[in-house]
């Protein structure tokens, strides 16, 4: 009766295609009184760095029309604290834990990835390629096919875990970057991370973020994210894709699947509707039942 929502992302098997996006669900445990974590397809942690990071000064967030800008600056307790303190609590759930890996140099990515690979209970790594590259004046790694390939190849050497590359939309053409990531060893692509933007406070005559520039997320960017996802699916039809950007309903998630996504991530909308992930899972199920479809494969990528 209930349709099968299972999906495979390469070597990674998920009970359903609905994950939470990096940095928008804390480490996962923060939600456990509101969301039954064992229902989720997977939990992606906030991005982890080699050492604890304090993050950027406030204001770090600004609301924009149907979206928000953030410049959290990767505030986190560092990969060691995650492995020692948080991971054991997450292992209590059967849900796959995907650790998001951040770095400001290729070496940092590799060292974080290596530490996570030795820990018990990490199902896969997701490389956050929107991190500022210290060696290139703070430019995002993911804007360049070459840098993307470097990071992915280096981490590929350092981990036996399934490897997801999360791409940035701040490029003229995302396809060469996607190809570079896959050729360098990424088994799954996740797209998109936030879109660069600014916001101005007219009363105070200053930027609304202390860092001036931030990353735009939320419903506003859904058409942009879906455009990139669809183009990458057309160019690389064999690569499993994870769609992220502006999902705030089951319908939004289904749109991504129709465009070719194997799975989706919910980010900003978690803030607005903390129980949304479960609603989306239910809504996808209901759509399949209502339309007499028995698996997601039957509709994946039918909108081309």
């Amino acid at each position: 009766m209930t349709p099968n929502l299972q999906v495979s992302l390469g070597r990674l098997q998920l009970r359903n295609p609905v994950m939470v996006a990096a940095g928008t669900f804390g480490y996962g445990v923060e939600y456990r009184d509101l969301v039954d974590l064992s229902q989720l397809g997977a939990i992606v942690t906030k991005s982890l760095t080699l050492t604890p990071r304090m993050g950027n000064p406030p204001p770090r967030v600004a609301e924009t029309p149907a979206g928000m800008l953030n410049a959290i600056g990767l505030q986190n307790d560092g990969v060691d604290a995650f492995v020692v303190e948080t991971l054991p609590r997450l292992r209590a759930y059967e849900t796959p834990i995907i650790a998001s890996v951040a770095g400001e140099s290729v070496e940092e990515y590799v060292r974080v990835a290596a530490k996570l690979s030795r820990a018990e209970g990490v199902a896969a790594l997701e490389l956050n390629l929107s991190c500022p590259n210290q060696a290139h004046g703070g430019m995002e790694f993911g804007v360049s096919p070459e840098l993307t390939a470097q990071v992915v190849a280096a981490v590929r050497q350092a981990t036996p875990l399934p490897l997801i590359a999360k791409l940035t939309p701040n490029v003229g053409d995302i396809v060469p970057v996607a190809q570079a990531a896959v050729e360098a060893g990424a088994e799954v692509l996740c797209l998109i991370n936030t879109v660069l933007g600014v916001a101005v406070d007219v009363r105070e005559r200053r930027f609304r973020l202390a860092t001036k520039v931030g990353g735009l997320s939320g419903p506003a960017i859904k058409p942009i994210a879906q455009y990139h996802l669809w183009r990458v699916h057309q160019a690389l039809p064999e690569v499993p894709l994870v769609g992220v950007g502006g999902i705030s309903s089951a319908e939004d998630a289904l749109e991504y699947i129709l465009l070719g996504a194997h799975a989706v991530q919910i980010g900003t909308a978690n803030y607005v509707q903390p129980t949304l992930t479960l609603e989306v899972i239910e809504g996808i199920q209901r759509y399949l039942v209502d339309h007499g479809i028995d698996s997601l494969e039957a509709i994946r990528g039918v909108v081309q």
């Binding site: 940095g23 928008t24 669900f25 804390g26 923060e30 939600y31 009184d33 509101l34 304090m54 993050g55 000064p57 406030p58 204001p59 770090r60 967030v61 600004a62 609301e63 924009t64 029309p65 149907a66 979206g67 928000m68 953030n70 959290i72 505030q75 939320g218 419903p219 506003a220 705030s248 900003t268 978690n270 803030y271 607005v272 509707q273 903390p274 129980t275």
Partner: protein, 267 residues
């Protein structure tokens, strides 16, 4: 510290002043556990713009009736939408959230200092505090606003038996000047006091400095943008001094909104 996401029915929706409303919601689990200083994240409709829920301090909580109320002023689209919700409709409410005001038992005078829209959490605090006071304890309310018509909720403080002193920027009621001037005066009086304050952050900074100068314990409820309210987005960062002397960013939504004033690094 359980939190509840409730589809709360609007029980009453009263206009309390020009553009100011009290919204009474049926949300039993929140009503039963809410503490003064805590807040709820409110979503009147499933809109994409405004996108975020907004935080509102809990003004009252009646555990028996299972209702809470919030007090808000219509400022922009979000509050305009909220003001349209009729009795009987539902509003999504997540709470109770955040830290609460803690009565300082050593104090003989509890000074509650409210600036602008800072009244609601202090009103709730006064309502819970006053019945527990020893005979030699007193509550002093200091309330400031730009104009007299923006002063709200004072009668309720008085009805609870508290002394109320008022300041307006334009002198249209009470002292002409800032509520922090009233506080400076009050702290000169030789009574062991504790201060609990809510208002714009720049007022709270002055409050904190005054209290530090007088060696008076002080709790402040800080304002910060709050995308999530539950500690996951790290958007509501407040810089604090750590016990080890270092600094770090805490979350106003979960490690606050009520902070010990001496912990905050004011900028």
């Amino acid at each position: 510290m359980a939190r509840y996401e409730v589809a709360a029915t609007v029980v009453e929706h009263q206009r309390r002043a020009a553009n100011q409303y009290e919204l009474i919601l049926h949300a039993p689990p929140i009503a039963q556990s809410a503490m003064p200083g805590q807040f709820v994240m409110v979503r009147p409709l499933r809109t994409h713009a405004p996108l975020w829920r907004r935080p509102y301090s809990i003004l009252r909580a009646n555990p028996d009736k299972g209702v809470i109320s919030i007090f808000y002023s219509v400022q922009s689209t979000f509050t305009e939408l909220l003001s349209l919700k009729p009795i009987g409709s539902t509003v999504q409410v997540l709470g109770p959230l955040g830290t609460c005001f803690q009565p300082v038992r050593a104090a003989r005078r509890h000074i509650l200092a409210a600036g602008g829209t800072g009244v609601p959490p202090l009103s709730f605090f006064a309502a819970r505090l006053i019945p527990t006071l020893q005979p030699d304890e007193q509550v002093l309310i200091l309330a400031g606003a730009r104009r007299r018509d923006l002063l709200v909720g004072l009668d309720e403080f008085r009805a609870l038996g508290a002394e109320v002193r008022v300041a307006t920027d334009d002198g249209s009621r009470g002292y002409k000047g800032y509520v922090t001037d009233l506080l400076a005066q009050a702290l000169e009086e030789p009574i062991p006091s504790a201060v609990y304050a809510c208002g714009p952050n720049r007022m709270l900074k002055v409050v904190a400095e005054l209290c530090l100068k007088h060696g008076v314990p002080c709790q402040v409820s800080l304002d910060a943008p709050m995308p999530c309210g539950i500690g996951v987005c790290l958007g509501c960062a407040v810089k604090v001094r750590l016990p080890d002397g270092g600094v770090w960013y805490k979350r106003a939504c979960t490690e606050g909104p009520v902070f010990r004033a001496e912990e905050v690094v004011w900028e």
